[in-house]
Subunit: 237 residues, 2 copies
DNA sequence: CCTCGACTGTGTATGTCATACACTTAGTAT
DNA sequence: ATACTAAGTGTATGACATACACAGTCGAGG
């Protein structure tokens, strides 16, 4: 644990998520918390439940973590994890190939731990070590491109927003599920919401045989639009 | 208040945010909660603080609202508000003009009540009456376009994601503020994060004389990329 | 070898929170 | 007037984050 340090800064200081082989350790605590969040959602993560899962008392956690907020930041960093080094774009690689690989990589991480979404309230710009490593790799895909530095950043952040959009949209859909269709059927006045009804009856909700593919397809569509737009700008330089 | 009804459904049933002139009412409760959230953030909204602000007891709120979750959904709906009717795109209007107007309208709403971001955990697809009205208007801007129905939806959702990205990125920047620069300076190893450093020293954080304009400029950049991509698809049909 | 201090884990206590439930009271319909 | 209903209250419960004081343990310096 650290004295007088902001939660964010604590995450940076911790870097090697070590594990002494016995007793508590930051690594163990964070791992237990992530397991809990994966299984029951972020709301299920309380100091006492995490401690119980490890067989320690609630207060023991505070020897390794200054606050719950810090714990959650650590969870986020570990759950995001470092990008595979194979994601580091080769110097001669086509930017678009690189960006696409990167984009799909980030979706995958977020889908693996959807509760990362709920941890957003804390955030702002990417700020955690692993998050920044992803950002670094993302920016590198645009290295050879004539875009200005701030433009590169905007492009990567835009794609990131799309990734979060995907996760947000498909999150509660799973949870609420039937209540959606029901709700829409019951309250969506065709006089007031003709376009919405048309869009949704086109099958955005009513997934086909393989919802995962459909979801991928939706993500791909948005991504291609973004990249087409970027390509156009690059081409104009 | 409603019996045996999901929080979301309760919001739909409530539609006219009425106000009996005395005593408590849903409208009054929601308004007080929004005032609180605007001033001190979503975290400051507790049943007891809202009640106190109105001069009633905590439990009195439960006569009008089934749970805190329902309250927050109501808050969200009211804070989002209906789109101005002038946003309803004219039939002969250029789609791009319409979409841009719509996009800027949504940013504006979100910026006025940034805590709406924190209410995301609850959500999923847009589902609240006013949210759906915005969606309806957004979709209408693409009415005359050769896009397929699900594609229109994807485009609007993509822009929406961009709006949330803008809000997310600039939210904590305000809150953490100096700690960001500090943190970056202290921990960002130029060996490991060359691209990040290049992108940020380009001035993404170090705002110019008018940060609002810079922020607008950043949003505009992403929006134009998206719309260029969409235009290209439309053109190819 | 002993002692001291640091580190790690514990137990108890406090204040906040959402919410259940039983109660009162006022207003309305018969 | 009586019975019913809606609105507001007060008290109680159980979860939670966290402060604080204490205890065991272990390694380093005498």
């Amino acid at each position: 644990m650290n004295e007088q340090v902001s939660p964010l800064e604590a995450v940076w200081k911790a870097s090697p998520y070590d594990g002494a082989r016995e007793g508590l350790s930051l690594g163990r605590i964070v791992a237990a918390a992530i397991t809990l969040a994966d299984a029951e959602g972020l709301a299920a993560v309380s100091m006492s439940r995490v401690a119980k899962a490890l067989g320690f008392t609630t207060m023991s956690l505070y020897r390794h973590v200054a606050s719950k907020e810090e714990l959650i930041l650590h969870m986020q960093d570990v759950a995001v994890g470092p990008p595979p080094t194979t994601f580091d774009p080769a110097a001669d690689e086509d930017w678009r190939t690189g960006v696409e690989r990167w984009a799909w990589g980030t979706v995958e991480r977020l889908r693996a731990h959807p509760w990362i979404l709920q941890t957003l309230p804390i955030l702002g710009p990417p700020a955690t070590p692993n998050q920044l490593t992803w950002l670094e790799y993302g920016l590198r895909t645009l290295r050879a491109t004539p875009l200005l530095e701030p433009e590169k950043l905007q492009v990567i952040l835009l794609i990131n927003a799309h990734v979060f959009g995907d996760a947000t949209f498909h999150d509660a859909e799973v949870a609420d599920d039937d209540s959606y269709e029901t709700l829409f059927a019951r309250y969506l006045d065709p006089g007031r919401f003709p376009a919405v009804i048309a869009a949704f009856s086109g099958g955005a909700f009513a997934e086909g045989p393989d919802p995962a593919t459909d979801r991928d397809e939706q993500f791909r569509f948005g991504l291609e639009r973004i990249l087409d737009g970027v390509a156009q700008l690059i081409g104009s330089r």
